[in-house]
C-alpha cells in the first residue's frame, strides 16, 4: 500500500505547474469574465506542444502511455490556475470512451488529432435535467441523431461531440457526431463560469457513428472516471482559494493585528484545510481505482465527488467572506474560484446524483426499492 506520488509523478507536477503558471494566469481568467473568448487556445496549444494532451494514450495512439494518476495531476494543476481549456470532456471522457468502446478506425482517425490539440470532442450527455444514461431522450435511428443537448461545455469550440442517445432498441449508447455536419445547430449559453463556455446543440437528423462498445454501464463508467478526475480539479482550485485567503489573512490588519491571528478567522481556514484534505484522500483512492480498474470505482468516484463538492463550496464561499468587502468585488480573485466550483458541479451532476450512485452500490438503489 502506498498512498503517495512517485518521484517521477512529482516531477510531472512541477513541470506542468511551471508551464501552466506561465500561460494560465488569473489575469487570463479575469479576461474571460470581461468578455474575451472563453477558450484559452494559447494554453491548450502549450499543453499540446508539451505532449500533455496525449498523456493517457499509448505510444501507438500518438501519446506517451501514462495513466489516470498522471491525468489526475494535470486536472489538479488546471484547477489551481483555472485554465480555460476543455481537458475534462476531451481527455477525461472522450479519450477513455474511444479507448474502451470505440473502433480501431475511430481511434486511428481521432486520437492523433486530439494529442495535437486540433480535434476537440465535447461530451453531450445532459439534456437540461439529469446526466444519468437512463434519462436520455435523444434518439438515433439508422445512424441519424435527433434531440437537444444542453449544456455542452466547449460545445461551440469543439470539432466533434460524443453524444448519449438511445438506439433503436431504446438502449442508451454513445455516438460520435461531427459538429460541422448538416443537421447540427449550436447556440451559446451563459454559464456561471465563463472560462468554461457552454452551448446548446440541436441535432436534427444529423449523421452520427456508434461507439460499438458503449452501453449504459460504459457511459456510467466514463462518468465515474470523470468524477474522480474532476475531484482533483476541484481540490486544486480549493487549495488555491485557501492559499490566497491564508495569505490575505496574514497581511490584512484589523484591531492592531493580522486578521489571521483571530480564531474566528484562523479556525475557519483550518476547517477549509481539513475539508480539502479529506476530499484529497478520497480522490487518491479514486485515482487508484481508476488506474487499476478496481471494481470499487463507482463507490470511490461517488465519495471523491461528494467530499470534493463540499470542500469547494465551503472554501470558495468562506474565501469571499474572509476577504471582506474586497472579496465581493468583480475585480478580486475569490469569485473566480466560486464560479469554477459551481461550473464543475453543473458539468458532472450535483451531490444527489452521486449519493444515489453510492447508495446504489452500498444499499438498495432507490428506484428498485420503491
Amino acid at each position: 500500500m502506498n498512498f503517495g506520488f512517485s518521484d517521477e509523478q512529482d516531477t510531472i507536477r512541477e513541470t506542468l505547474s511551471r508551464m501552466l503558471g506561465d500561460h494560465a494566469t488569473l489575469e487570463v481568467a479575469h479576461n474571460r469574465l470581461d468578455g474575451a473568448e472563453g477558450f484559452d487556445t494559447a494554453t491548450w496549444s502549450a499543453l499540446a506542444d508539451g505532449g500533455w494532451l496525449g498523456l493517457a494514450m499509448s505510444e501507438a495512439e500518438g501519446g506517451s502511455g501514462m495513466g489516470a494518476v498522471e491525468l489526475a495531476i494535470l486536472a489538479e494543476e488546471i484547477g489551481r490556475c483555472l485554465a480555460a481549456v476543455p481537458y475534462l470532456p476531451v481527455l477525461c471522457m472522450a479519450v477513455p470512451a474511444l479507448q474502451s468502446a470505440g473502433t480501431q478506425g475511430q481511434r486511428t482517425s481521432l486520437l492523433p488529432g486530439i494529442a495535437k490539440g486540433r480535434t476537440i470532442i465535447a461530451t453531450a450527455l445532459a439534456e437540461g435535467g439529469g446526466l444519468a444514461p437512463d434519462t436520455v431522450s435523444a434518439k438515433v435511428v439508422q445512424d441519424r441523431l435527433s434531440g437537444q443537448k444542453a449544456p455542452v461545455t466547449f460545445g461551440a469550440e469543439a470539432t466533434h461531440a460524443l453524444v448519449a442517445a438511445t438506439d433503436e432498441e431504446d438502449t442508451p449508447r454513445l455516438y460520435l457526431a461531427d459538429l460541422s455536419a448538416s443537421g447540427v445547430t449550436i447556440g451559446a449559453l451563459d454559464p456561471i463560469d465563463r472560462t468554461r463556455p457552454a452551448a446548446r446543440i440541436d441535432f436534427d437528423n444529423a449523421p452520427v457513428e456508434l461507439l460499438p462498445g458503449s452501453d449504459p454501464a460504459a457511459i456510467q463508467r466514463m462518468l465515474d472516471g470523470a468524477a474522480v478526475l474532476a475531484a482533483f480539479e476541484q481540490i486544486g482550485l480549493a487549495e488555491r482559494a485557501l492559499a490566497l485567503t491564508t495569505a490575505y489573512a496574514g497581511e490584512r490588519h484589523a484591531f492592531g493585528r493580522p486578521i489571521g491571528g483571530f480564531q474566528a478567522v484562523k479556525h475557519r481556514l483550518a476547517d477549509m484545510f481539513a475539508k480539502i484534505e479529506l476530499a484529497r484522500s478520497n480522490a487518491f483512492f479514486g485515482a487508484w481505482a481508476l488506474a487499476s480498474g478496481d471494481s470499487r470505482l463507482p463507490e470511490a468516484a461517488a465519495v471523491a465527488r461528494l467530499t470534493a463538492l463540499d470542500a469547494v463550496q465551503f472554501t470558495t464561499e468562506e474565501s469571499i467572506q474572509l476577504h471582506g468587502g474586497i472579496g465581493f468585488t468583480w475585480a478580486a480573485d475569490p469569485h473566480l474560484f466560486l464560479r469554477r466550483g459551481w461550473q464543475l458541479k453543473a458539468e458532472l451532476g450535483p451531490a444527489d446524483m452521486w449519493r444515489e450512485r453510492l447508495l446504489g452500490h452500498l444499499a438498495t438503489p432507490l428506484r428498485a426499492a420503491s
Binding site: M1, R257, Q263, L269, A270, V303
Partner: protein, 408 residues
C-alpha cells in the same frame, strides 16, 4: 499510488490472518459496541491482558516498535493492516494504547537505558498498564498551567497535587506524570516528567462517572508521593519537551488507530433498512439517503487520510500535524452519525425498550462520542494547531507565556 498490498504486505496480512484465525473468533455482529480505548471492568482488563500477552508472545504486539525493544520493526502500513485484520475478530478492548502508543515511544526517545529496560518489555506484554497523568482541574487545553508540584528532597522527589480525567487510572499499574518543579520560571519552562507506580499508597484514584453512565476516567490525588530521581523521564525542567512527544504520539494514535473506531456508516445503512420512516423503509427516504451517503463519504475520507499519513511515515517522515486533521474530523462525524442513529432508531427521543436494542446502542454511541471531541486536544485546539503550524497563521495572543508561573 497503490492501494493494494505489496507482496510483502500480502504475506504480512496472510500471516496475521492465520494467527488470528487460530487464536480468536470472527465478530458476528452481536458484540457490544466498544470503545477500544477502554476496558470496562476487571474482567475485561483480565481478558485484555491475556490477549495482549498472547499477541506479545507471538510477536504481534508493539508492531512498529524496534526489535531491540521487543517490537517487530513493522512499517506503519503493516500496523494498519494488523488493525484491519484484528478489527474483524471479537477481541477484548485495547487497554494498552497509552502504554504502547504514548508512553513507549516517549521512553524510547527520552528515557535512560534503565528506564527502557524497566518500562518497554512489560508495557508490550500487558503486564504493566499505563495511564497518562497530565490534565488537572485547572489545566487541560492549557496543559503547561499544571500545578502538581514535585520538590527535591535529597536524592528523591516528593510529588503532591491533583490530576483529573485520567483514563484507566483505576486499573493502571503505572502512570506518566507531568509536574511543576520550578514555579519561578515561565509556565512551559519549569516542568518535569516522571514515571510513577500507581499502587503507591500516596496515590488515591476515584472514578468519575461520565455522561454515558460509565466511569472510564478518574480523578487522582497525589499526596507526598516519594519517588527516586531515577523516576524522572528526561531532563529536569525539560518536561514540556517530553510532553510534546507524548502528545504528538497521542494525536497520531487517535487519528490513525481510531479511523475505524466508533460506529460505522454501514451500521446506519443496516439500521435504516430495518426501521420505517413515514410509513416505508427508512432507507427509501430521501433525507435518510442524503445523510447516510455523506457519512459514508466522510468516513472513507478519514480512513484514506490515515493511510496517507501512514505512507508518509513509511517514507521516514516524522508524525506531524496531519494527525490533527483526523482528530478534528473524526469526533464530529461520530457525534453526527450517532445522533442520526438515535433519530432512526427510536421515536426520536432515544427511548430504549430493552437493553441492547437499537435505541440503546445508538444512545450509548451518542453519549460516548462527545469525549472524542475533547480528549487528546479539543477540536478548537486542533484548529489552532492546523492554523498556526500547518497554515502558518499568526499565533493567538498568549498573555501568560513569558511571565514566571509564580506571578500568574
Amino acid at each position: 499510488m497503490d492501494f493494494s498490498d505489496s507482496p510483502e504486505e500480502a504475506t504480512f496480512r496472510a500471516d496475521a490472518r492465520s494467527w488470528l484465525d487460530a487464536n480468536a473468533a470472527l465478530r458476528d455482529g452481536s458484540e457490544k459496541a466498544q470503545d477500544h480505548f477502554m476496558a470496562r471492568d476487571a474482567d475485561e482488563v483480565a481478558r485484555a491482558r491475556d490477549w495482549q500477552a498472547r499477541k506479545a508472545e507471538a510477536g504481534w504486539a508493539g508492531l512498529t516498535w524496534p526489535r531491540a525493544f521487543g517490537g517487530r520493526d513493522a512499517t506503519p502500513i503493516e500496523q494498519v493492516i494488523w488493525n484491519q485484520e484484528e478489527g474483524r475478530y471479537a477481541v477484548p478492548p485495547n487497554a494498552f494504547l497509552i502504554g504502547i502508543g504514548l508512553v513507549g515511544p516517549t521512553v524510547m526517545i527520552h528515557g535512560t537505558e534503565a528506564q527502557k529496560a524497566a518500562v518497554l518489555p512489560r508495557a508490550l506484554t500487558g503486564e504493566d498498564i499505563w495511564c497518562q497523568l497530565f490534565s488537572e482541574p485547572a489545566a487541560g487545553s492549557d496543559l503547561a498551567g499544571i500545578r502538581t508540584r514535585a520538590r527535591r528532597d535529597g536524592d528523591d522527589w516528593v510529588i503532591s497535587g491533583q490530576k483529573v480525567w485520567t483514563s484507566g487510572a483505576h486499573y493502571s499499574s503505572h502512570g506518566i506524570l507531568l509536574a511543576r518543579t520550578d514555579p519561578q520560571v515561565p509556565k512551559h519552562k519549569g516542568l518535569t516528567m516522571f514515571l510513577v507506580d500507581m499502587s503507591d499508597p500516596a496515590i488515591e484514584t476515584r472514578p468519575i462517572r461520565q455522561i454515558s453512565g460509565g466511569a472510564s476516567f478518574n480523578e487522582v490525588f497525589i499526596d507526598d508521593l516519594r519517588v527516586p530521581d531515577s523516576a524522572r523521564l528526561g531532563g529536569e525542567s525539560e518536561g514540556w519537551k517530553v510532553a510534546l512527544t507524548t502528545l504528538m504520539n497521542e494525536r497520531f494514535s487517535i487519528s490513525v488507530g481510531r479511523a475505524s473506531g466508533g460506529a460505522r456508516a454501514e451500521e446506519l445503512i443496516a439500521l435504516a433498512t430495518r426501521v420505517e420512516r413515514n410509513g416505508r423503509p427508512a432507507i427509501e427516504d430521501g433525507e435518510v439517503r442524503a445523510r447516510i451517503s455523506d457519512f459514508v463519504a466522510r468516513q472513507r475520507g478519514l480512513e484514506f487520510t490515515s493511510y496517507r499519513v501512514m505512507t508518509s511515515l513509511s517514507r521516514g517522515e516524522a508524525p506531524g500535524e496531519e494527525g490533527s486533521i483526523g482528530k478534528l474530523l473524526l469526533g464530529k462525524l461520530r457525534q453526527e452519525m450517532a445522533a442520526f442513529g438515535m433519530e432512526l432508531a427510536g421515536t426520536a427521543a432515544g427511548i430504549s425498550a430493552k437493553a441492547g436494542d437499537d435505541a440503546a446502542r445508538w444512545r450509548n454511541e451518542y453519549l460516548t462520542a462527545p469525549g472524542n471531541r475533547i480528549a487528546g486536544g479539543s477540536d478548537e485546539i486542533q484548529r489552532t494547531i492546523i492554523g498556526e503550524r500547518i497554515l502558518g497563521l499568526p499565533p493567538d495572543i498568549r498573555v501568560d507565556k513569558s511571565a514566571p508561573f509564580s506571578d500568574l
